[in-house]
């Protein structure tokens, strides 16, 4: 195993709030990341060659669908465990966490919540094992923050549906075996359907030239009169609320996940500041650098408290989508700011792949945009507190 010196900050003794089980789960995923992700991730990102083989090993290691019951191949864990798993994965790379978010929250979750028994039995165990890779298609070329105006459509034709339209910016699109696609029916109601690789008229080209999440596959889903059997329609998903519920679950994971990226940036910068000398002193001895480090730790500690409480509420079923928005928005910005500051502490070295910081920084530029942009989440809070929506 790659020796790892990483020491995540725990300034407020948060570990005391975790059960032994939580800590064991966390250490199992941390070990997995040290072994499977750390040694390859810099190169995979530099070369823009996503380590897609990790899907299967993540499945073998129980990383997918932690909150799905064991009956369907999940681990039957609570939401704090889910958060801790995401945190460890994102310490490795946001791309790896993204793949896990999509698989667990955006594919397994809707099948579990809105699917028929047959759909659950057919797909969930194989998704949990990583034998099948899933993707989630909501965003369209002309409808990002505003998915309610999507133009992708299904129409009934005998015993099946015909699907037309296109989705863009879809994580894992070209490597997915199944796509969880959201489209409007003839009455204009958003429905969810499982589109399988190889269906006629369905293609999923990859989008290249990204500067962010370079270890993740992103692409399009194009539907040209795809014939979808009736059994592939999720019976219980009706209205935009359904995909938004999935996003809510994923956003919760992101709010935890980014703490992993931030912690690694902070830890790296702190170490560097105590090794690097300028003007005959460690750079960590200068007030300007100490200010940065002290503020980083303060922000990480606040973020940890936020998600821990949110996790408790989620375990009790008391969290709201608006609470999740607040945590996603706060924590992603926190992580991005820390990555940028940490990058500066490491100086020129900070722009290279000798340190994980610039990679995290570039990744987080996606994370602050996807799953609801930073602005949109603010509008959600604004709407919640004033009762006046300011989207349109």
């Amino acid at each position: 195993m790659t020796a790892s010196t990483y020491k995540p900050p725990d300034y407020y003794l948060m570990d005391e709030l975790l059960s032994d089980e939580h800590k064991m789960i966390r250490s199992s995923v941390r070990d997995w990341v040290n072994r499977e992700v750390k040694p390859i991730i810099e190169e995979a990102s530099q070369l823009n060659e996503p380590p897609t083989h990790l899907m299967e090993t993540m499945g073998e290691n129980g990383i997918f669908g932690p909150f799905i019951p064991e009956k369907y191949g999940g681990a039957g864990l609570d939401y704090i465990s889910y958060g801790l798993i995401m945190q460890e994965l994102e310490r490795g790379d946001s791309a790896i966490r993204s793949a896990a978010s999509v698989q667990s929250s955006l594919v397994m979750f809707p099948i579990y919540i809105f699917g028929s028994d047959a759909q659950k039995a057919q797909f969930l165990p194989r998704l949990a094992k990583g034998e099948l890779t899933g993707c989630f298609g909501l965003t369209e070329p002309n409808h990002g923050s505003d998915p309610g105006n999507m133009i992708t459509r299904i129409r009934e034709k005998g015993d099946h549906f015909i699907l037309d339209g296109a989705k863009l910016w879809i994580t894992n699109s070209s490597i997915a075996d199944i796509a969880m696609v959201w489209a409007k029916d003839e009455k204009g109601v958003v429905r969810g359907l499982i589109v399988e690789k190889g269906m006629e008229g369905f293609s999923a080209p990859e989008t290249h030239d990204k500067w962010s999440l370079r270890a993740s596959v992103t692409g399009e889903l194009v539907f040209d009169g795809v014939k979808i059997p009736r059994k592939n329609l999720l019976p219980k998903a009706k209205g935009l609320r359904s995909p938004l519920m999935c996003l809510n679950s994923a956003r919760y994971g992101i709010a935890w996940g980014v703490i992993g990226a931030a912690s690694e940036c902070y830890d790296t910068a702190l170490r560097y500041s105590l090794q690097r000398k300028q003007f005959d002193r460690f750079i960590g001895s200068f007030q300007l650098q100490q200010k940065k480090l002290a503020e980083m730790l303060t922000e990480i500690t606040k973020a940890q408290l936020l998600v821990w409480r949110l996790g408790e509420l989620k375990n009790q079923g008391k969290e709201t989508a608006q609470m999740v928005s607040m945590a996603k928005r706060n924590n992603v910005k926190m992580a991005l700011d820390i990555a940028r500051e940490a990058r500066q502490i490491i100086g020129a070295m900070g722009i290279t792949s000798n340190y994980p910081v610039m990679r995290h920084m570039m990744n987080l530029e996606s994370v602050i945009t996807y799953e609801g942009t930073h602005d949109i989440h603010l509008l959600i809070t604004g709407h919640d507190i004033t009762g006046i929506q300011a989207f349109k």
Binding site: M24, S28, W32, R35, N61, G62, E70, S81, I85
Partner: protein, 289 residues
């Protein structure tokens, strides 16, 4: 037929992190002061077994560990990483066993299971003898391959193995059943698996079940794999004379914590007199010659 693998694993005091109170005044190891861990090379032995299980359809990994009741932690740890089941060999009568008595006991346990392959670590960090594995093979009358670095190929009747020797590597083939001991240069063990953690977190030994306040009866009936069996002297049909202190010719006189002080080091140059001095030292201390 399933391919049966026994992994021998020992819980040891973590002698790599020795503090001030590691030794008792009488010169024995103060086990209480050192964290109990999975013997490192045994963990690597487990990884070899798991790699076989990855390749061979229908392979079964059975952990055998001998020690006090708390050594059941080793079995749980192995289950979290992919082992199939385990037995804890525990009995007060085993106390004080040296390598001879230990290998006698373990050989009896292995015989009960009749595996195709037995995998052990090369040595335990609390004794460093490297004797137990080979002694068991001898007692069972099966071939042994020591210093295994990797199992290269495996089928029901034969294994191909790379050994790490002092001056290089050697690739050997050996018929089953056989015993191998695993060298520290072998692959590190894979981490615990979150799903298996959930599956086995309530696995309990019979002694633990007796002590727990919670009633596990129903859980153990529904999930029999959570019940970890213990084997006593009687279960193994062992000869008491061959066990524990009476079966152990080794008498430990004293264990010392050796700290090399600076005064014991000398600086040598390439001058003839220094080289002569070094040669003499090496011969006197039997390092060479």
């Amino acid at each position: 037929m399933s391919f049966k693998i026994v992994v021998l694993a020992k819980q040891v005091p973590d002698t790599r992190n020795v503090g001030k109170d590691a030794m008792k005044a009488d010169g024995t190891v103060n086990r209480g002061a050192l964290p109990a861990i999975f013997n490192p090379e045994d963990l690597q032995a487990l990884e070899q077994a798991l790699m076989v299980k990855d390749q061979v359809e229908d392979a079964e990994i059975i952990i055998l560990t001998m020690g006090p009741p708390r050594a059941v932690e080793i079995i749980r740890e192995a289950l979290y990483r992919g082992a199939t089941s385990g037995y804890l060999i525990t009995d007060r009568k085993f106390a004080g066993s040296d390598t001879l008595a230990t290998s006698y006991t373990l050989a009896l346990a292995v015989k009960k299971i009749q595996p195709h392959l037995v995998i052990a670590g090369r040595q335990a960090i609390d004794g460093d003898t490297a004797q137990v594995g080979p002694q068991i093979a001898q007692k069972l009358g099966i071939p042994q391959v020591t210093y295994t670095e990797q199992i290269l190929d495996v089928n029901l009747d034969e294994l191909k193995i790379r050994r790490r020797l002092e001056r290089g590597v050697e690739v050997v083939k050996c018929k089953t059943p056989l015993l191998i001991t695993v060298h520290s240069s072998a692959a590190e063990c894979r981490p615990r698996n979150a799903k298996l953690l959930m599956k086995y977190k309530h696995a309990r030994s019979v002694s633990e079940l007796q002590e727990e306040s919670k009633d596990y009866t129903e859980m153990m009936t529904n999930k029999p794999y959570l019940r970890l069996e213990e084997w006593s002297v009687a279960d193994l049909g062992a000869d008491e004379e061959a066990l524990g202190l009476s079966g152990s010719p080794t008498k430990v006189k004293k264990i010392e914590n050796v700290v090399l002080a600076k005064k014991e080091s000398v600086n040598l140059t390439t001058e003839d007199k220094d080289i002569d001095y070094l040669m003499k030292e090496l011969i006197d201390s039997h390092v060479i010659g």
